[in-house]
Structures are given as structure tokens and as C-alpha cells.
Amino acid sequence: MVKILGIDDNADITEMLDTVLNGSGHEFSFVNNGKDGLEKIKQNNFDIVLLDLSMPNFTGVDVVNELIEEGIINKQKIVLFTASSMTDTEIDQLIQKGAHSCIRKPIDIPDLLEKLTEIEKS
């Protein structure tokens, strides 16, 4: 079973993802801040990470940069979530650095499931 980690400070979103993903044949767990997320990723137990970029204090961008610094960015597929007005170029830079792809909020569930299936296949 594909192990997915959600990192988002918005409980409404993590709860929804919990229902959707666990209900559609994935093993999903989540944390609500960047620091905890980073620790979990380091334990290397996940196949896919859904990472919200705009969190307070330790943002998703910080998480990505930390992973790059420690050289473990490629150990799992990182899918970025963003609702912010970050430009495509800024996001492209993160993808070039090692993130897998990006989904813009509001998240479209069919799109998300399709993307996960796509990643699992690869």
C-alpha cells in the first residue's frame, strides 16, 4: 500500500484528505506543521509527501530547502500544494530542485487521485 504523508496546517484539509485517501486505498497520515513534517520525512517511511507551501513559521519552502541541504530530497516524491500567488517560475525552481510536482489550491480531488495514481505507476 502506498504510504502518503500530508503536511498542512489547515485541519479541514488534512481531515478531508484523510477521508479521501484512506477511503481510496492509500495509507495516509498527517502532521500540521513544517518541523514535524521534516522529522517524519527524515524517518523515510513515506512514498509520497503532500506538502503545503504556505504554513506559519516553518513553511513548505523551508522544508524543501532543508531536504535539499541534507541531500535527501529525492528519497520520496514531494507534491506541493499552494494557494499563494507564487509564480510558476518560483514553483518551477522548487520542482527543479527536486520536488515532484505542484497542485494549486483549491485542490481538485479527481485531479489529485489521478496524479497519485500516475506517481504510483512510475
Binding site: 489547515n10 484528505l17 477511503g23 481510496s24 504556505s54 494557494a83 500567488s85 509564480t87 489550491k105 479527481p110
Partner: protein, 654 residues
């Protein structure tokens, strides 16, 4: 220490560099003024005075030059000649002490009699100098800084009350005045500014576009005139329009001396200081002649004075309406060649000085005033509203206050613009975040595999929530995009993709929109088309147009048709519907921001009114063009092109 002549030439050189154009203008004006005013006067004199000779004007110029040289040579070392105008301030010492100076207890220079003459001469010279080079202020100061002679051109504010009835008007105190064509002519009064008896006129400065931005107030010391009309043979005098003799070659008019300051300016009575014209000769014959002088511009005449026939020639001077009179007994007709020379020189100088001083002042002042205003206005006009730049016009007067104020305002506007940008990016983020769980839960509920099947009513309710949430999402994007387009900050992400696959995707994605209204959605691509463009933005374009169409198609048998075909460098798309359409006259405004064809529609269907303006912005940003064909009740056909690759986009943009 330099010789006077050197100083003078260096000084003039400096001026020439600064204002070559000005001097050219001057020369033209001098020639014109001299030709008109003096020429007319002499015509009459020459007719009568048979022995007259015509003096070459160059002779006059040479003699004036010598006069100036002599003045320099005789000047006290402690006299400093100071020239101040808006361009620069310059001082130089007058060298070579000949007479020495007397100082009072406070170390202030007191003029001895010869020096007093010197001072008057200097004043005269200054006057010529000032009117030729247009210096705003010219003064002579001594080594203590005390100003002894000062000439100024003064500007009067446009809103200043110039009526002579207003007793506290600054330039209309103790004097008598006439008004002619908006020009106030003032006759001798004591000017506290110059500390001399002066003549003055006040005239509005009229710019080329007929505006009156300021008034020019011009003062001329009486003594200058008095000196200019000095004649060897015969008598010359000047009558003002009120019938007072204000200068006379026979009698030194009291008011031309600066120690005769009226004690009470409020009760100024000209007759105290100026003799009446009747003192020249009090006969009925002479009175008739004076009457002629007042009514005609120039002429000649004779009157009988104590048994001798006196020949009279007169000329009304421009600007001040003074009448310059020259008279000579017949017995002296064949004497005094010099008298006519002097007359000619005097009249020419007076006429030139007055008319040119005034004219140049008007030209320069109006330039000085309107120039910066025009530049300021141009800078303001050429501003890009999205990015205001500071204006650069700076002068040393009130205008610089205006540009400082404008710059302050621009700073604030720019700051506000930045805040607005930050605010709207924050607000769109905040609005999008709650949409994720709303849309997400709806989609989760629609998926029977996750939370089980819903009954028909529940399913319909979820569909409605989802449809509206999507609409809300679109409107938020519209607001954000409209702003991006406004600031030309929208960026495009070019990737190659298949148009066929794109329309397949659109079709499946729009099912939930078509289903509730049972709209027939047809799409058709001619051939296999590939395009290099921004897929997300193009999807936004289609969403906008299709959602729009959904609103307008009838509740039954609604139909939307999307087509794509190759059109050379670009792909031509159509989005057609069989909706209510719109009248031709409303179509030109369709793509404008916040436009609703029918305002009642807005209440029924909502919408920000930004959708089509954003759509147009995106298509143009991608290098394409959009238009619409429609008529009332005939549906609408939106057609637009999108270049096949970004290279074409750049070309179309140019």
C-alpha cells in the same frame, strides 16, 4: 584688478553666453521700437526744422559706450556693482578711485555732489543695462552692504487687486493713475522699493495661449527721464495725461530728487511736486495747442510767447501716454545742430527702453512662468498609472512647491498601489483556502467508493454546492487576473500540447456544469492540432466563455458548440451558443471591465463583470485576438485565435 572696459566686456560676454537668443530678440525689438516710435516723432520735426541733420545711430551707441567707460573710470573703489537675476548673482567692484568717498558715523557712504551725479549716471546706466539684459534686480551696494541704487522688475500675483480705488494696493499708493487696455499707468510716486521718484506701469503678462499668469510691475526713476531730455538749444519737457510737467529741460523738477519725499503719502497731491502745464505758458493759444497734444499722437504748432513765435513739435510716447514736447523760438531755428541729435537720441532711448523693457519682460516672464508649468503638465500627462514616476521640474519659485507636492502625492499613490497589490494577493489567498475543503468534500461525496452512495436529492444538493463553489473560485481568479493584466504582470507558461486532448479534457471536466441544465455540448477539432501555449490560461479562457454561455442558453434545448481549426500561424477557436444573444450596439463594450449587457441580468446570474475582460486580456497576452458575432435572440459566437507557438506570439505583439 581689471580695467573697467575689460570687466564690462567680460561681463557682457557672460550675459551673451547665457542668453544669446535673448539678445537676438532684443536687437529685433530695439530696431522695431526705435524705428516706430522715434521715426514718427522726427518726421514732423524734420519737416519744420530745415537745418536739421540726421545722426547715424552708431554715433549714439558709441557715445553711450564712452559714457559707460567714463562712469567706470570715475567710480569709487568701494562701490560694488551688483547684478541679480534668477539665473545668477554677480558682483564686481568699480575700480580706480578718483574722488574718494565720504562716510558717515555708521560707515555708510554719503555721496558728495559730483558723486551724486555719478550715482544718477550709474542709475541711468543700470537702467539701460537692466532693460537690455533683463536682470530682475540690479543694484549698487557699498562695502557695508548698503544698497544705494536699485532697479527691479516686479511680478504681481494674478489675483492681486490692482484697482486704484483699493487704497492699500501695494503699487497704487500715492500716485495718480489711468487705466488703458488693462494696463495701469502710474505717474510719479515715491517708490519705497527703489527709494526714488518713479513712473510705473502695471500690465498683465499674456502668454501665447491668452492666459494671464501674472502682472508685470515696471518702475522707472524720474531722474532718468529728466536727464534724457537735456537739450542745448530750445526746451524740452514732458507732460503727463493729467497735465502736469513731469520733466523739463529748463527747470529741474523737484520730484526727480530723492530727498523730496512727501511726508504724507496718503494725501499725495501731484501739484505739490509737479508744475502744471500752464506754467510753461499761460495763454489761450497755448491751451489750444495742449488740447491738440492730448487728442492727437503727434503734430506741430506754433504759439506766440512775449512777441516771439515759438515752434512746437510734440509726440505722444507709447506705453506711458506721456507727451514729449520740443519747442524752439524761430530765432534759434538755424542754431544748435546738437539739439536735434540730443532730441533724437533721447526720444529713441526713452522709446526703446520703455517699450523693450516692457516687451522683453513680458516675453521672458511669461516664458519663465509657462515653461515649467507646461513641462510639469507634460510629465504628469505621460505618467503610466500603474507605475508613477516622480516629476523632475524644479524652479526656485512656487512651481517647485507644486512639483514637491506632486512628488509627495506620487509617493503616497505608489505606496498605496503596493499595499493594494499586497492586500489583493493576501485576500485571494485567504479566499481560496476555504474553497479547498468545500470543493474537496463535495468531490469526495460524489465519489461513491469513498463514503458510500448518496440518494438523488443529496447528490443534487452536492452538485449545486460544487457548481457554485467552482463559480466562486473562478470569480476570485478573475479579480486576481484582472489586476495582473492591469499591471502587465501576468506571466505565461508555454508548453506544447495537443488541442484534441485539451478539448477532450475540457469536455469531461465540464460535465457537471452541463448536466443540471441538460445542455447539449458539442466539440469538434479539424485534424490533429498541436499548439505551444499556456494550457492553464487557455482553460481559463474556455471556462469563462463556456460558463458565460451556460448562463445564457435557454432552459430547454440549450446548445454549446466548441470548434478548433488550423488557421495558418494560429489556431482558430469558436465557442457558439444558442442563447439570448445581444444587440449589436452593446457588443463593442462587451470586453470592457465590469460591463454587463443587461444590468437586470447581473442580479439574476451574478458575475463580477470581469470574466470577458480577463478573457480578452489573456488571449491578447498569448498573442491572439478575440471577437464576437451575435444579435438579439440569435445566440453568440465568440471566435478567437491563439498563435501556434510563442515565436508567433512575439511577432504579433509587435
Amino acid at each position: 584688478m581689471m580695467e573697467g572696459g575689460e570687466i564690462l566686456s567680460e561681463f557682457s560676454g557672460k550675459f551673451r553666453k547665457i542668453s544669446v537668443k535673448l539678445i537676438v530678440l532684443f536687437s529685433i525689438l530695439i530696431i522695431a521700437a526705435v524705428a516706430t516710435s522715434s521715426g514718427l516723432a522726427f518726421q514732423s520735426v524734420e519737416e519744420s526744422v530745415l537745418e536739421s541733420e540726421i545722426v547715424d545711430m552708431t554715433g549714439v551707441v558709441t557715445s553711450k559706450g564712452n559714457e559707460i567707460q567714463i562712469l567706470h573710470n570715475r567710480a569709487s573703489e568701494n562701490l560694488i556693482f551688483a547684478v541679480q537675476n534668477t539665473i545668477f548673482v554677480d558682483y564686481f567692484e568699480l575700480i580706480d578711485t578718483r574722488g574718494g568717498n565720504i562716510y558717515d558715523d555708521e560707515n555708510i557712504i554719503i555721496f558728495t555732489l559730483p558723486q551724486k551725479i555719478l550715482k544718477d549716471k550709474l542709475e541711468k546706466w543700470m537702467y539701460n543695462f537692466q532693460s537690455q539684459f533683463f536682470t530682475a534686480k540690479t543694484s549698487i551696494i557699498d562695502n557695508t552692504g548698503q544698497e544705494h541704487v536699485k532697479l527691479i522688475f516686479q511680478e504681481i500675483a494674478p489675483d492681486e487687486d490692482l484697482s486704484s480705488t483699493k487704497t492699500d494696493a501695494p503699487y497704487f499708493e500715492a500716485s495718480f493713475e489711468i487705466e488703458k487696455d488693462n494696463v495701469h499707468l502710474q505717474f510719479p510716486y515715491y517708490s519705497p522699493e527703489i527709494e526714488r521718484w518713479v513712473f510705473a506701469y502695471t500690465t498683465p503678462i499674456v502668454t501665447t495661449d491668452n492666459l494671464q499668469p501674472a502682472f508685470l510691475h515696471f518702475e522707472m526713476p524720474v531722474v532718468l527721464f529728466q536727464e534724457m531730455i537735456d537739450v542745448n538749444v530750445g526746451r524740452m519737457y514732458v507732460i503727463d495725461p493729467n497735465g502736469f510737467v513731469i520733466a523739463d529741460s529748463d527747470t529741474y523738477i523737484v520730484a526727480s530728487q530723492n530727498n523730496d519725499i512727501p511726508s504724507n503719502l496718503d494725501n499725495f497731491e501731484p501739484s505739490q511736486f509737479f508744475p502744471s502745464i500752464n506754467t510753461i505758458y499761460g495763454s489761450a493759444e497755448f491751451s489750444d495747442l495742449v488740447q491738440n497734444m492730448k487728442t492727437t499722437t503727434s503734430g506741430t504748432g506754433t504759439y506766440d510767447k512775449d512777441g516771439e513765435k515759438i515752434f512746437v513739435s510734440y509726440e505722444k510716447l507709447p506705453t506711458f501716454e506721456w507727451i514729449l514736447v520740443y519747442e524752439k523760438p524761430y530765432s534759434l531755428m538755424l542754431h544748435g545742430e546738437n539739439s536735434l541729435n540730443t532730441l533724437r537720441a533721447a526720444m529713441a532711448t526713452v522709446a526703446a527702453v520703455i517699450s523693450i523693457g516692457g516687451l522683453i519682460a513680458v516675453v521672458i516672464l511669461s516664458q519663465r512662468i509657462t515653461g515649467p508649468i507646461n513641462r510639469l503638465a507634460n510629465e504628469c500627462k505621460n505618467q503610466n498609472p500603474a507605475n508613477l514616476k516622480k516629476v523632475t521640474v524644479s524652479t526656485k519659485d512656487e512651481l517647485s512647491d507644486v512639483s514637491t507636492a506632486i512628488n509627495g502625492m506620487i509617493d503616497r499613490v505608489n505606496k498605496m498601489e503596493k499595499q493594494k497589490e499586497e492586500f489583493s494577493s493576501m485576500i485571494t489567498h485567504e479566499l481560496k483556502t476555504p474553497l479547498t475543503p468545500i470543493i474537496g468534500w463535495c468531490q469526495t461525496l460524489q465519489n461513491h467508493k469513498i463514503l458510500g452512495a448518496l440518494n438523488e436529492k443529496q447528490s443534487k444538493a452536492i452538485d449545486t454546492i460544487l457548481r457554485n463553489a467552482k463559480r466562486l473560485q473562478m470569480m476570485i481568479s478573475d479579480v486576481l487576473d484582472a489586476q495582473k493584466l492591469d499591471m502587465e504582470k501576468m506571466r505565461f507558461d508555454y508548453k506544447e500540447f495537443s488541442v484534441n486532448e485539451f478539448l477532450d479534457y475540457l469536455h469531461s471536466n465540464l460535465q457537471h456544469v452541463m448536466k443540471p441544465k441538460k445542455i447539449e455540448y458539442i466539440y469538434n477539432v479539424k485534424g490533429n492540432l498541436k499548439i505551444q501555449s499556456d494550457k492553464n490560461r487557455l482553460e481559463q479562457v474556455f471556462n469563462n466563455l463556456i460558463f458565460n454561455a451556460v448562463d445564457f442558453v435557454p432552459d430547454e434545448n440549450g446548445r454549446i458548440e466548441v470548434t478548433a481549426e488550423d488557421n495558418g500561424d494560429a489556431i482558430l477557436f469558436h465557442v457558439k451558443d444558442n442563447g439570448i444573444g445581444m444587440p449589436k450596439d452593446k457588443q463593442k463594450d462587451l470586453f470592457k471591465k465590469f460591463y454587463q449587457v443587461d444590468t437586470t441580468h447581473a442580479r439574476k446570474h451574478g458575475g463580477t463583470g470581469l470574466g470577458l475582460s480577463v478573457t480578452k486580456g489573456i488571449i491578447e497576452g498569448l498573442g491572439g485576438k478575440i471577437s464576437v458575432e451575435s444579435d438579439k435572440g440569435k445566440g453568440a459566437d465568440f471566435q478567437f485565435t491563439v498563435p501556434k507557438n510563442s515565436k508567433n506570439r512575439d511577432r504579433t505583439k509587435e
